[in-house]
Symmetry: C3
Subunit: 201 residues, 3 copies
Protein backbone atom coordinates (compact mmCIF):
# COMPACT_ATOMS: atom_id res chain seq x y z
CA UNK A 1 0.00 0.00 0.00
CA UNK A 2 2.70 2.49 1.12
CA UNK A 3 4.70 1.06 -1.78
CA UNK A 4 2.03 1.96 -4.38
CA UNK A 5 1.55 5.45 -2.99
CA UNK A 6 5.28 6.16 -3.12
CA UNK A 7 5.47 4.65 -6.62
CA UNK A 8 2.79 7.09 -7.77
CA UNK A 9 4.54 10.04 -6.10
CA UNK A 10 7.80 9.14 -7.85
CA UNK A 11 6.06 8.68 -11.21
CA UNK A 12 4.27 12.02 -10.92
CA UNK A 13 7.46 13.85 -9.89
CA UNK A 14 9.43 12.44 -12.84
CA UNK A 15 6.53 13.22 -15.22
CA UNK A 16 6.46 16.84 -14.02
CA UNK A 17 10.22 17.22 -14.39
CA UNK A 18 10.09 15.72 -17.91
CA UNK A 19 7.25 18.07 -18.87
CA UNK A 20 9.15 21.15 -17.69
CA UNK A 21 12.28 20.04 -19.59
CA UNK A 22 10.30 19.53 -22.81
CA UNK A 23 8.57 22.92 -22.48
CA UNK A 24 12.00 24.57 -22.22
CA UNK A 25 12.99 22.73 -25.44
CA UNK A 26 9.91 24.30 -27.17
CA UNK A 27 8.39 20.95 -28.10
CA UNK A 28 4.75 20.63 -29.10
CA UNK A 29 2.22 18.94 -26.83
CA UNK A 30 2.94 15.50 -28.32
CA UNK A 31 6.68 15.85 -27.79
CA UNK A 32 6.06 17.00 -24.21
CA UNK A 33 3.93 13.94 -23.52
CA UNK A 34 6.53 11.55 -24.94
CA UNK A 35 9.33 13.17 -22.92
CA UNK A 36 7.19 12.92 -19.77
CA UNK A 37 6.46 9.23 -20.46
CA UNK A 38 10.15 8.56 -21.16
CA UNK A 39 11.25 10.31 -17.96
CA UNK A 40 8.69 8.65 -15.68
CA UNK A 41 8.49 5.17 -17.24
CA UNK A 42 11.77 4.87 -19.19
CA UNK A 43 13.94 3.59 -16.36
CA UNK A 44 11.52 0.81 -15.44
CA UNK A 45 11.07 -0.02 -19.12
CA UNK A 46 14.81 -0.45 -19.69
CA UNK A 47 15.03 -2.58 -16.53
CA UNK A 48 12.15 -4.80 -17.69
CA UNK A 49 13.68 -5.19 -21.17
CA UNK A 50 17.10 -6.12 -19.72
CA UNK A 51 15.64 -8.83 -17.48
CA UNK A 52 13.07 -10.01 -20.03
CA UNK A 53 10.03 -8.97 -17.97
CA UNK A 54 7.87 -8.34 -21.04
CA UNK A 55 5.35 -6.95 -21.95
CA UNK A 56 6.93 -4.24 -19.81
CA UNK A 57 5.12 -3.33 -16.58
CA UNK A 58 3.33 -0.15 -17.67
CA UNK A 59 1.88 -1.87 -20.76
CA UNK A 60 0.28 -4.49 -18.50
CA UNK A 61 -1.01 -2.08 -15.84
CA UNK A 62 -1.97 1.35 -17.16
CA UNK A 63 -2.24 3.08 -13.75
CA UNK A 64 1.16 4.76 -13.96
CA UNK A 65 0.52 5.76 -17.56
CA UNK A 66 -2.67 7.57 -16.53
CA UNK A 67 -0.80 9.37 -13.76
CA UNK A 68 1.80 10.54 -16.26
CA UNK A 69 -0.85 11.91 -18.63
CA UNK A 70 -2.62 13.62 -15.74
CA UNK A 71 0.68 15.13 -14.57
CA UNK A 72 1.41 16.47 -18.05
CA UNK A 73 -1.98 18.19 -18.29
CA UNK A 74 -1.73 19.75 -14.84
CA UNK A 75 1.90 20.78 -15.35
CA UNK A 76 1.18 22.43 -18.70
CA UNK A 77 -1.73 24.39 -17.18
CA UNK A 78 0.15 25.48 -14.07
CA UNK A 79 3.64 25.71 -15.62
CA UNK A 80 4.41 29.27 -14.54
CA UNK A 81 3.52 28.46 -10.98
CA UNK A 82 5.45 25.16 -11.00
CA UNK A 83 8.69 26.74 -12.12
CA UNK A 84 8.75 28.50 -8.77
CA UNK A 85 8.39 25.15 -7.11
CA UNK A 86 11.70 23.72 -8.24
CA UNK A 87 12.67 23.01 -4.65
CA UNK A 88 9.52 20.96 -3.97
CA UNK A 89 10.10 19.21 -7.29
CA UNK A 90 13.61 18.30 -6.26
CA UNK A 91 12.13 16.81 -3.10
CA UNK A 92 9.54 14.78 -5.04
CA UNK A 93 12.23 13.69 -7.47
CA UNK A 94 14.43 12.58 -4.58
CA UNK A 95 11.59 10.54 -3.07
CA UNK A 96 11.13 9.14 -6.57
CA UNK A 97 14.67 7.88 -6.98
CA UNK A 98 14.50 6.37 -3.50
CA UNK A 99 11.41 4.31 -4.22
CA UNK A 100 12.40 3.51 -7.84
CA UNK A 101 15.76 2.15 -6.66
CA UNK A 102 13.92 -0.06 -4.18
CA UNK A 103 11.45 -1.29 -6.83
CA UNK A 104 14.31 -2.12 -9.20
CA UNK A 105 16.14 -4.09 -6.50
CA UNK A 106 12.96 -6.04 -5.68
CA UNK A 107 12.41 -6.94 -9.36
CA UNK A 108 15.93 -8.34 -9.50
CA UNK A 109 15.49 -10.30 -6.26
CA UNK A 110 12.25 -11.81 -7.55
CA UNK A 111 14.17 -13.54 -10.35
CA UNK A 112 17.13 -14.51 -8.12
CA UNK A 113 19.76 -12.19 -9.55
CA UNK A 114 23.06 -11.45 -7.80
CA UNK A 115 22.85 -8.60 -5.21
CA UNK A 116 25.24 -6.45 -7.25
CA UNK A 117 23.03 -6.90 -10.31
CA UNK A 118 19.96 -5.99 -8.24
CA UNK A 119 21.63 -2.75 -7.11
CA UNK A 120 22.47 -2.01 -10.76
CA UNK A 121 18.85 -2.67 -11.75
CA UNK A 122 17.69 -0.32 -8.99
CA UNK A 123 20.02 2.38 -10.25
CA UNK A 124 18.88 1.84 -13.84
CA UNK A 125 15.23 2.11 -12.75
CA UNK A 126 15.88 5.36 -10.88
CA UNK A 127 18.31 7.08 -13.27
CA UNK A 128 17.67 5.97 -16.85
CA UNK A 129 14.33 7.71 -17.24
CA UNK A 130 16.34 10.92 -16.99
CA UNK A 131 19.02 9.57 -19.33
CA UNK A 132 16.43 8.69 -22.01
CA UNK A 133 14.79 12.12 -21.54
CA UNK A 134 18.15 13.84 -22.14
CA UNK A 135 18.97 11.69 -25.19
CA UNK A 136 15.59 12.50 -26.75
CA UNK A 137 16.24 16.20 -26.02
CA UNK A 138 19.68 15.86 -27.66
CA UNK A 139 21.82 16.75 -24.65
CA UNK A 140 24.51 14.87 -22.74
CA UNK A 141 22.68 13.15 -19.86
CA UNK A 142 22.86 15.44 -16.83
CA UNK A 143 23.31 12.47 -14.51
CA UNK A 144 26.73 11.81 -16.10
CA UNK A 145 28.02 15.25 -15.28
CA UNK A 146 26.45 16.59 -12.14
CA UNK A 147 25.67 15.89 -8.56
CA UNK A 148 25.63 12.84 -6.37
CA UNK A 149 22.54 11.31 -7.93
CA UNK A 150 23.26 7.81 -9.16
CA UNK A 151 25.75 7.47 -6.32
CA UNK A 152 22.89 7.92 -3.83
CA UNK A 153 21.08 5.02 -5.55
CA UNK A 154 24.13 2.76 -5.48
CA UNK A 155 25.01 3.49 -1.84
CA UNK A 156 21.33 3.22 -0.88
CA UNK A 157 21.07 -0.07 -2.74
CA UNK A 158 24.07 -1.41 -0.85
CA UNK A 159 22.49 -0.22 2.42
CA UNK A 160 19.41 -2.31 1.54
CA UNK A 161 21.49 -5.47 1.86
CA UNK A 162 23.16 -4.14 5.00
CA UNK A 163 19.78 -3.48 6.64
CA UNK A 164 18.60 -6.92 5.58
CA UNK A 165 21.73 -8.49 7.04
CA UNK A 166 20.76 -7.05 10.44
CA UNK A 167 17.38 -8.74 9.88
CA UNK A 168 15.11 -5.75 10.27
CA UNK A 169 11.47 -6.33 9.33
CA UNK A 170 10.88 -6.11 5.56
CA UNK A 171 8.98 -2.82 5.89
CA UNK A 172 11.74 -1.31 8.01
CA UNK A 173 14.34 -2.36 5.44
CA UNK A 174 12.30 -0.66 2.70
CA UNK A 175 11.87 2.57 4.61
CA UNK A 176 15.48 2.72 5.81
CA UNK A 177 16.73 2.18 2.24
CA UNK A 178 14.54 4.97 0.89
CA UNK A 179 15.55 7.31 3.72
CA UNK A 180 19.24 6.55 3.12
CA UNK A 181 18.95 7.48 -0.55
CA UNK A 182 16.93 10.60 0.21
CA UNK A 183 19.38 11.58 2.94
CA UNK A 184 22.49 11.22 0.76
CA UNK A 185 20.86 13.14 -2.06
CA UNK A 186 19.64 16.01 0.11
CA UNK A 187 22.95 16.32 1.94
CA UNK A 188 24.80 16.34 -1.39
CA UNK A 189 22.58 19.13 -2.74
CA UNK A 190 22.83 21.12 0.50
CA UNK A 191 26.62 20.87 0.75
CA UNK A 192 27.07 20.94 -3.05
CA UNK A 193 28.97 17.68 -3.03
CA UNK A 194 30.03 16.37 -6.39
CA UNK A 195 31.95 13.39 -7.64
CA UNK A 196 35.52 14.05 -8.69
CA UNK A 197 35.83 14.98 -12.33
CA UNK A 198 38.76 13.23 -13.94
CA UNK A 199 41.03 15.61 -15.78
CA UNK A 200 42.53 14.43 -19.07
CA UNK A 201 46.13 15.17 -20.03
Amino acid sequence: MLFSVLDIIGTVAFAVSGTLTAIEKRMDIFGITIIAIATALGGGTLRDVLIGNTPVTWLKDLQNFYFVIGSVIITVIFRKWLNELRVSLMLFDTIGIGIFTLIGIQKGIMIDLHPLVCILLGTVTACFGGVIRDILCNQVPVVFRKEVYATACIVGGASFYLFQFFSFSQDAVFICTILTIIGIRLLSVYFQWSLPQIKGE
Copy 2:
Protein backbone atom coordinates in the same frame (compact mmCIF):
# COMPACT_ATOMS: atom_id res chain seq x y z
CA MET B 1 -2.24 -10.07 -49.13
CA LEU B 2 -3.19 -6.36 -49.32
CA PHE B 3 -1.65 -6.18 -45.86
CA SER B 4 1.78 -7.47 -47.06
CA VAL B 5 1.82 -5.19 -50.07
CA LEU B 6 1.09 -2.14 -47.93
CA ASP B 7 3.69 -3.28 -45.37
CA ILE B 8 6.30 -3.40 -48.13
CA ILE B 9 5.28 0.04 -49.45
CA GLY B 10 5.62 1.51 -45.96
CA THR B 11 8.98 -0.18 -45.38
CA VAL B 12 10.36 1.05 -48.71
CA ALA B 13 9.13 4.61 -48.13
CA PHE B 14 10.73 4.77 -44.68
CA ALA B 15 13.96 3.25 -46.05
CA VAL B 16 14.11 5.88 -48.79
CA SER B 17 13.50 8.71 -46.33
CA GLY B 18 16.20 7.36 -43.98
CA THR B 19 18.66 7.07 -46.87
CA LEU B 20 18.08 10.67 -47.97
CA THR B 21 18.52 11.92 -44.38
CA ALA B 22 21.81 10.02 -43.98
CA ILE B 23 23.14 11.31 -47.31
CA GLU B 24 22.48 14.86 -46.13
CA LYS B 25 24.48 14.06 -42.97
CA ARG B 26 27.44 12.99 -45.19
CA MET B 27 27.58 9.47 -43.80
CA ASP B 28 29.43 6.69 -45.59
CA ILE B 29 27.57 3.84 -47.27
CA PHE B 30 27.54 1.75 -44.06
CA GLY B 31 26.11 4.61 -42.01
CA ILE B 32 23.46 5.20 -44.68
CA THR B 33 22.43 1.54 -44.58
CA ILE B 34 22.16 1.52 -40.77
CA ILE B 35 20.09 4.71 -40.78
CA ALA B 36 17.78 3.24 -43.43
CA ILE B 37 17.38 0.03 -41.41
CA ALA B 38 16.73 2.01 -38.23
CA THR B 39 14.11 4.20 -39.93
CA ALA B 40 12.26 1.37 -41.65
CA LEU B 41 12.54 -1.37 -39.02
CA GLY B 42 13.25 0.54 -35.79
CA GLY B 43 9.64 1.26 -34.83
CA GLY B 44 8.59 -2.37 -35.19
CA THR B 45 11.74 -3.49 -33.37
CA LEU B 46 11.03 -1.26 -30.35
CA ARG B 47 7.43 -2.50 -30.31
CA ASP B 48 8.56 -6.15 -30.41
CA VAL B 49 11.10 -5.57 -27.61
CA LEU B 50 8.50 -3.81 -25.41
CA ILE B 51 6.01 -6.67 -25.74
CA GLY B 52 8.63 -9.42 -25.65
CA ASN B 53 8.03 -10.66 -29.20
CA THR B 54 11.61 -11.84 -29.68
CA PRO B 55 13.62 -12.58 -31.79
CA VAL B 56 12.14 -9.42 -33.32
CA THR B 57 10.06 -9.83 -36.47
CA TRP B 58 12.62 -8.81 -39.10
CA LEU B 59 15.23 -11.23 -37.69
CA LYS B 60 12.78 -14.10 -38.17
CA ASP B 61 11.59 -13.08 -41.65
CA LEU B 62 14.21 -11.31 -43.77
CA GLN B 63 11.81 -10.07 -46.48
CA ASN B 64 11.56 -6.53 -45.11
CA PHE B 65 15.32 -6.42 -44.55
CA TYR B 66 15.92 -7.23 -48.24
CA PHE B 67 13.48 -4.51 -49.29
CA VAL B 68 15.37 -2.00 -47.13
CA ILE B 69 18.72 -2.95 -48.70
CA GLY B 70 17.20 -2.77 -52.18
CA SER B 71 15.72 0.65 -51.39
CA VAL B 72 19.09 1.95 -50.17
CA ILE B 73 20.84 0.85 -53.37
CA ILE B 74 18.19 2.34 -55.65
CA THR B 75 17.95 5.55 -53.63
CA VAL B 76 21.72 6.07 -53.63
CA ILE B 77 21.85 5.55 -57.42
CA PHE B 78 18.87 7.79 -58.17
CA ARG B 79 19.35 10.27 -55.30
CA LYS B 80 19.33 13.44 -57.41
CA TRP B 81 16.11 12.41 -59.07
CA LEU B 82 14.48 11.35 -55.78
CA ASN B 83 15.07 14.69 -54.09
CA GLU B 84 12.63 16.18 -56.57
CA LEU B 85 10.11 13.57 -55.51
CA ARG B 86 9.70 14.76 -51.94
CA VAL B 87 5.96 15.07 -52.44
CA SER B 88 5.61 11.45 -53.59
CA LEU B 89 7.84 10.43 -50.71
CA MET B 90 5.59 12.22 -48.26
CA LEU B 91 2.69 10.27 -49.76
CA PHE B 92 4.51 6.94 -49.43
CA ASP B 93 5.54 7.86 -45.89
CA THR B 94 1.94 8.71 -45.04
CA ILE B 95 0.73 5.36 -46.36
CA GLY B 96 3.53 3.86 -44.29
CA ILE B 97 2.44 5.34 -40.99
CA GLY B 98 -1.14 4.31 -41.74
CA ILE B 99 -0.28 0.67 -42.24
CA PHE B 100 2.41 0.57 -39.52
CA THR B 101 -0.08 1.95 -36.98
CA LEU B 102 -2.51 -0.79 -37.96
CA ILE B 103 0.16 -3.53 -37.71
CA GLY B 104 1.19 -2.29 -34.27
CA ILE B 105 -2.41 -2.32 -33.05
CA GLN B 106 -2.88 -5.87 -34.36
CA LYS B 107 0.28 -7.10 -32.59
CA GLY B 108 -1.09 -5.72 -29.33
CA ILE B 109 -4.54 -7.24 -29.86
CA MET B 110 -2.95 -10.65 -30.55
CA ILE B 111 -1.57 -10.73 -27.00
CA ASP B 112 -4.74 -9.29 -25.42
CA LEU B 113 -3.44 -5.88 -24.43
CA HIS B 114 -5.71 -2.98 -23.43
CA PRO B 115 -7.02 -0.93 -26.42
CA LEU B 116 -5.17 2.17 -25.20
CA VAL B 117 -1.92 0.16 -25.08
CA CYS B 118 -2.59 -1.17 -28.60
CA ILE B 119 -2.99 2.39 -29.91
CA LEU B 120 0.29 3.32 -28.20
CA LEU B 121 2.01 0.30 -29.80
CA GLY B 122 0.64 1.36 -33.19
CA THR B 123 2.00 4.86 -32.69
CA VAL B 124 5.38 3.48 -31.55
CA THR B 125 5.53 1.25 -34.65
CA ALA B 126 4.75 4.16 -36.97
CA CYS B 127 6.77 6.93 -35.32
CA PHE B 128 9.81 5.52 -33.53
CA GLY B 129 11.71 4.48 -36.63
CA GLY B 130 11.98 8.20 -37.33
CA VAL B 131 12.86 8.93 -33.70
CA ILE B 132 15.72 6.39 -33.72
CA ARG B 133 16.91 7.79 -37.08
CA ASP B 134 17.05 11.28 -35.61
CA ILE B 135 18.84 10.13 -32.43
CA LEU B 136 21.49 8.31 -34.52
CA CYS B 137 21.87 11.49 -36.61
CA ASN B 138 22.24 13.50 -33.37
CA GLN B 139 19.23 15.77 -33.80
CA VAL B 140 16.12 16.36 -31.71
CA PRO B 141 13.48 14.00 -33.17
CA VAL B 142 11.48 15.94 -35.74
CA VAL B 143 8.26 14.21 -34.69
CA PHE B 144 8.47 15.98 -31.31
CA ARG B 145 8.51 19.41 -32.84
CA LYS B 146 6.58 19.49 -36.07
CA GLU B 147 3.37 18.60 -37.78
CA VAL B 148 0.38 16.47 -36.91
CA TYR B 149 2.19 13.16 -37.36
CA ALA B 150 1.90 11.06 -34.23
CA THR B 151 -1.48 12.66 -33.62
CA ALA B 152 -2.73 11.16 -36.88
CA CYS B 153 -1.64 7.73 -35.61
CA ILE B 154 -3.33 8.18 -32.24
CA VAL B 155 -6.61 9.49 -33.68
CA GLY B 156 -6.50 6.83 -36.41
CA GLY B 157 -5.86 4.15 -33.80
CA ALA B 158 -8.87 5.33 -31.82
CA SER B 159 -10.95 5.28 -35.01
CA PHE B 160 -9.97 1.62 -35.44
CA TYR B 161 -11.92 0.75 -32.28
CA LEU B 162 -14.77 3.04 -33.35
CA PHE B 163 -15.04 1.28 -36.72
CA GLN B 164 -14.91 -2.09 -35.00
CA PHE B 165 -17.65 -1.02 -32.59
CA PHE B 166 -19.92 -0.47 -35.59
CA SER B 167 -19.01 -4.04 -36.60
CA PHE B 168 -17.71 -3.41 -40.10
CA SER B 169 -16.00 -6.37 -41.76
CA GLN B 170 -12.37 -6.79 -40.64
CA ASP B 171 -11.04 -5.68 -44.04
CA ALA B 172 -13.24 -2.60 -44.03
CA VAL B 173 -12.03 -1.71 -40.52
CA PHE B 174 -8.41 -2.00 -41.71
CA ILE B 175 -8.92 0.15 -44.77
CA CYS B 176 -10.99 2.79 -42.96
CA THR B 177 -8.33 3.08 -40.24
CA ILE B 178 -5.55 3.55 -42.78
CA LEU B 179 -7.60 6.08 -44.74
CA THR B 180 -8.38 8.01 -41.55
CA ILE B 181 -4.69 8.30 -40.69
CA ILE B 182 -3.76 9.22 -44.26
CA GLY B 183 -6.59 11.76 -44.40
CA ILE B 184 -5.65 13.52 -41.16
CA ARG B 185 -1.99 13.64 -42.15
CA LEU B 186 -2.65 15.00 -45.67
CA LEU B 187 -5.14 17.59 -44.42
CA SER B 188 -2.67 18.70 -41.75
CA VAL B 189 0.11 19.13 -44.31
CA TYR B 190 -2.20 20.91 -46.76
CA PHE B 191 -3.60 23.34 -44.17
CA GLN B 192 -0.31 23.50 -42.26
CA TRP B 193 -1.96 22.44 -39.02
CA SER B 194 0.32 22.05 -36.08
CA LEU B 195 -0.09 21.17 -32.45
CA PRO B 196 0.06 24.05 -30.01
CA GLN B 197 3.56 24.75 -28.77
CA ILE B 198 3.60 25.41 -25.06
CA LYS B 199 5.40 28.59 -24.14
CA GLY B 200 7.55 28.55 -21.00
CA GLU B 201 7.72 31.46 -18.57
Copy 3:
Protein backbone atom coordinates in the same frame (compact mmCIF):
# COMPACT_ATOMS: atom_id res chain seq x y z
CA MET C 1 39.13 -21.42 -23.09
CA LEU C 2 40.80 -19.39 -25.87
CA PHE C 3 37.31 -18.02 -26.45
CA SER C 4 36.98 -16.70 -22.87
CA VAL C 5 40.44 -15.16 -22.88
CA LEU C 6 39.75 -13.32 -26.12
CA ASP C 7 36.33 -12.26 -24.83
CA ILE C 8 38.01 -10.69 -21.80
CA ILE C 9 40.63 -8.96 -23.95
CA GLY C 10 37.90 -7.47 -26.14
CA THR C 11 35.85 -6.37 -23.13
CA VAL C 12 38.84 -4.72 -21.49
CA ALA C 13 39.88 -2.93 -24.69
CA PHE C 14 36.36 -1.54 -25.24
CA ALA C 15 36.14 -0.51 -21.56
CA VAL C 16 39.44 1.36 -21.83
CA SER C 17 38.37 3.14 -25.02
CA GLY C 18 35.04 4.12 -23.43
CA THR C 19 36.82 5.44 -20.34
CA LEU C 20 39.17 7.61 -22.39
CA THR C 21 36.25 8.99 -24.42
CA ALA C 22 34.31 9.88 -21.26
CA ILE C 23 37.34 11.57 -19.67
CA GLU C 24 37.67 13.75 -22.76
CA LYS C 25 33.98 14.71 -22.33
CA ARG C 26 34.78 15.81 -18.72
CA MET C 27 32.30 13.43 -17.14
CA ASP C 28 32.44 12.57 -13.46
CA ILE C 29 33.52 9.14 -12.27
CA PHE C 30 29.95 7.77 -12.44
CA GLY C 31 29.50 8.98 -16.02
CA ILE C 32 32.84 7.46 -16.97
CA THR C 33 31.82 4.09 -15.52
CA ILE C 34 28.47 4.10 -17.35
CA ILE C 35 30.16 5.00 -20.66
CA ALA C 36 32.70 2.22 -20.15
CA ILE C 37 29.92 -0.29 -19.38
CA ALA C 38 27.94 0.87 -22.42
CA THR C 39 30.95 0.60 -24.73
CA ALA C 40 32.08 -2.83 -23.53
CA LEU C 41 28.72 -4.48 -22.84
CA GLY C 42 26.26 -2.43 -24.94
CA GLY C 43 26.68 -4.34 -28.20
CA GLY C 44 26.08 -7.72 -26.58
CA THR C 45 23.17 -6.28 -24.59
CA LEU C 46 21.42 -4.98 -27.72
CA ARG C 47 22.01 -8.35 -29.42
CA ASP C 48 20.54 -10.23 -26.44
CA VAL C 49 17.50 -7.92 -26.31
CA LEU C 50 16.86 -8.31 -30.06
CA ILE C 51 16.92 -12.11 -29.88
CA GLY C 52 15.14 -12.32 -26.51
CA ASN C 53 18.10 -13.81 -24.61
CA THR C 54 17.09 -12.24 -21.27
CA PRO C 55 18.17 -11.52 -18.58
CA VAL C 56 21.00 -10.31 -20.80
CA THR C 57 24.31 -12.18 -20.54
CA TRP C 58 26.28 -9.83 -18.28
CA LEU C 59 23.44 -9.72 -15.71
CA LYS C 60 23.61 -13.52 -15.43
CA ASP C 61 27.42 -13.78 -15.31
CA LEU C 62 29.14 -10.82 -13.69
CA GLN C 63 32.69 -11.71 -14.84
CA ASN C 64 32.73 -9.22 -17.73
CA PHE C 65 31.18 -6.54 -15.52
CA TYR C 66 34.03 -6.92 -13.03
CA PHE C 67 36.60 -6.66 -15.82
CA VAL C 68 34.96 -3.42 -17.00
CA ILE C 69 35.07 -1.92 -13.49
CA GLY C 70 38.70 -2.99 -13.08
CA SER C 71 39.56 -1.49 -16.48
CA VAL C 72 37.93 1.83 -15.54
CA ILE C 73 39.92 2.06 -12.30
CA ILE C 74 43.23 1.21 -13.95
CA THR C 75 42.57 3.49 -16.94
CA VAL C 76 41.65 6.45 -14.73
CA ILE C 77 44.84 5.97 -12.67
CA PHE C 78 47.12 5.54 -15.67
CA ARG C 79 45.23 7.80 -18.09
CA LYS C 80 48.20 10.01 -19.07
CA TRP C 81 50.28 6.98 -19.90
CA LEU C 82 47.45 5.25 -21.80
CA ASN C 83 46.88 8.17 -24.13
CA GLU C 84 50.32 7.49 -25.55
CA LEU C 85 49.23 3.93 -26.13
CA ARG C 86 46.55 4.66 -28.70
CA VAL C 87 48.20 2.31 -31.18
CA SER C 88 48.12 -0.62 -28.73
CA LEU C 89 44.54 0.31 -27.91
CA MET C 90 43.58 0.19 -31.55
CA LEU C 91 45.11 -3.28 -31.69
CA PHE C 92 43.17 -4.44 -28.61
CA ASP C 93 40.01 -2.90 -30.03
CA THR C 94 40.57 -4.70 -33.32
CA ILE C 95 40.98 -8.03 -31.53
CA GLY C 96 37.81 -7.10 -29.65
CA ILE C 97 35.66 -6.59 -32.74
CA GLY C 98 37.03 -9.83 -34.20
CA ILE C 99 36.01 -11.93 -31.20
CA PHE C 100 32.76 -10.02 -30.55
CA THR C 101 31.65 -10.58 -34.15
CA LEU C 102 32.32 -14.29 -33.71
CA ILE C 103 30.42 -14.45 -30.39
CA GLY C 104 27.45 -12.66 -31.96
CA ILE C 105 27.38 -15.09 -34.88
CA GLN C 106 27.51 -18.07 -32.49
CA LYS C 107 24.59 -16.70 -30.45
CA GLY C 108 22.52 -16.45 -33.62
CA ILE C 109 23.49 -19.96 -34.76
CA MET C 110 22.51 -21.38 -31.36
CA ILE C 111 18.89 -20.32 -31.95
CA ASP C 112 18.87 -21.35 -35.61
CA LEU C 113 18.76 -17.95 -37.23
CA HIS C 114 19.48 -17.33 -40.92
CA PRO C 115 23.24 -16.89 -41.71
CA LEU C 116 22.64 -13.29 -42.85
CA VAL C 117 20.92 -12.53 -39.54
CA CYS C 118 23.82 -14.15 -37.66
CA ILE C 119 26.30 -11.91 -39.48
CA LEU C 120 24.12 -8.90 -38.58
CA LEU C 121 24.06 -9.99 -34.94
CA GLY C 122 27.85 -10.34 -34.99
CA THR C 123 28.19 -6.84 -36.40
CA VAL C 124 25.73 -5.46 -33.81
CA THR C 125 27.70 -7.14 -31.01
CA ALA C 126 30.98 -5.69 -32.26
CA CYS C 127 29.86 -2.20 -33.29
CA PHE C 128 26.88 -1.06 -31.20
CA GLY C 129 28.78 -0.68 -27.95
CA GLY C 130 30.56 2.18 -29.68
CA VAL C 131 27.31 3.50 -31.14
CA ILE C 132 25.65 3.59 -27.68
CA ARG C 133 28.78 5.26 -26.24
CA ASP C 134 28.60 7.98 -28.90
CA ILE C 135 24.85 8.53 -28.41
CA LEU C 136 25.34 8.90 -24.64
CA CYS C 137 28.17 11.38 -25.36
CA ASN C 138 25.84 13.27 -27.74
CA GLN C 139 27.85 12.83 -30.93
CA VAL C 140 27.08 11.22 -34.29
CA PRO C 141 28.35 7.64 -33.99
CA VAL C 142 31.89 7.55 -35.36
CA VAL C 143 31.28 4.14 -36.94
CA PHE C 144 28.79 5.75 -39.35
CA ARG C 145 31.32 8.19 -40.70
CA LYS C 146 34.78 6.77 -40.62
CA GLU C 147 36.95 3.85 -41.46
CA VAL C 148 36.33 0.31 -42.58
CA TYR C 149 35.10 -0.89 -39.20
CA ALA C 150 31.69 -2.46 -39.50
CA THR C 151 32.65 -3.57 -42.98
CA ALA C 152 35.43 -5.70 -41.49
CA CYS C 153 32.82 -7.39 -39.27
CA ILE C 154 30.45 -8.04 -42.14
CA VAL C 155 33.12 -9.40 -44.50
CA GLY C 156 34.64 -11.41 -41.63
CA GLY C 157 31.22 -12.78 -40.75
CA ALA C 158 30.70 -13.88 -44.34
CA SER C 159 34.15 -15.50 -44.31
CA PHE C 160 33.02 -17.53 -41.27
CA TYR C 161 30.46 -19.32 -43.44
CA LEU C 162 32.99 -19.66 -46.24
CA PHE C 163 35.50 -21.31 -43.90
CA GLN C 164 32.79 -23.58 -42.55
CA PHE C 165 31.78 -24.53 -46.08
CA PHE C 166 35.33 -25.84 -46.62
CA SER C 167 34.76 -27.88 -43.43
CA PHE C 168 37.73 -26.69 -41.42
CA SER C 169 37.74 -27.79 -37.77
CA GLN C 170 35.56 -25.56 -35.59
CA ASP C 171 38.58 -24.02 -33.85
CA ALA C 172 40.26 -23.27 -37.18
CA VAL C 173 37.05 -21.60 -38.44
CA PHE C 174 36.97 -19.42 -35.32
CA ILE C 175 40.60 -18.36 -35.59
CA CYS C 176 40.46 -17.76 -39.36
CA THR C 177 37.34 -15.59 -38.93
CA ILE C 178 38.97 -13.48 -36.23
CA LEU C 179 42.17 -13.13 -38.25
CA THR C 180 40.19 -12.09 -41.34
CA ILE C 181 38.45 -9.32 -39.42
CA ILE C 182 41.69 -8.17 -37.78
CA GLY C 183 43.48 -8.28 -41.14
CA ILE C 184 40.89 -6.20 -42.98
CA ARG C 185 40.77 -3.66 -40.17
CA LEU C 186 44.56 -3.29 -39.90
CA LEU C 187 45.04 -3.06 -43.66
CA SER C 188 42.30 -0.43 -43.85
CA VAL C 189 43.95 1.65 -41.12
CA TYR C 190 47.42 1.26 -42.66
CA PHE C 191 46.31 2.18 -46.19
CA GLN C 192 43.68 4.66 -44.91
CA TRP C 193 40.91 2.93 -46.79
CA SER C 194 37.47 4.34 -46.32
CA LEU C 195 34.02 3.59 -47.67
CA PRO C 196 32.75 5.90 -50.38
CA GLN C 197 30.84 8.85 -49.01
CA ILE C 198 27.72 9.55 -51.01
CA LYS C 199 27.45 13.14 -52.11
CA GLY C 200 24.01 14.75 -52.06
CA GLU C 201 22.76 17.06 -54.81
